[in-house]
Symmetry: C2
Subunit: 127 residues, 2 copies
Amino acid sequence: MAQRKHYLFVCTNRRPPGTPKGSCATRGADGLYMALKAELAARGLAKAEVRTCTASCLDVCWAGPVIAVEPDGYFYGRVTEADIPAIADALASGTRVERLVLPAGDFDQATAGPMIPETPVPPPGPG
Amino acid sequence: MAQRKHYLFVCTNRRPPGTPKGSCATRGADGLYMALKAELAARGLAKAEVRTCTASCLDVCWAGPVIAVEPDGYFYGRVTEADIPAIADALASGTRVERLVLPAGDFDQATAGPMIPETPVPPPGPG
């Protein structure tokens, strides 16, 4: 193994559902991380090109789920599993998914765009 | 808040003590993360300059504890709490601590330098 060309840091911080600024995990970040890692491995990108990691809070909760793309130095925000093919395509081609890249205003909750809904919590199963 | 100039991703992955390649957490990464975060906050660097986060395995276990310094694109390795003042000084002055920067050879266990010892596990307390 060598140092990868890109490291993706998927915030998986979790706050209680209903917290005003929300959190990445309550909007599906855990599943997003696992699906993104699997997709990049399936495309043969995981061993040399891209490593996908989880991270603690990246301080842009309101724009979550967020992914810091490093060392490129930009963040993807409001990412869902439906965005994974586009993210993988962009990594493979050396581009980025512009519609997901957080603008400067999204780094401050006062000027950020709208939050995506939290993922509904499933009811407890029987027993 | 705005996007920080630097993000420090401290690997806190933990494997059972004695695992051949070891892990960052068994060499003190949890305490390192907390002490580093506290030091950068105390110096007034945390709000705009540097955010310190934990991360899952960065795949350089043998050189742990490791810290990915982004978007600068280098890793510090074999970091101990004694190195924190030097790391903070370097961030404040726009430099880096060269003696801690991992060379390319450290990204492959076959060519890596020596591992630092795991932190002894304290004996279980009474009761």
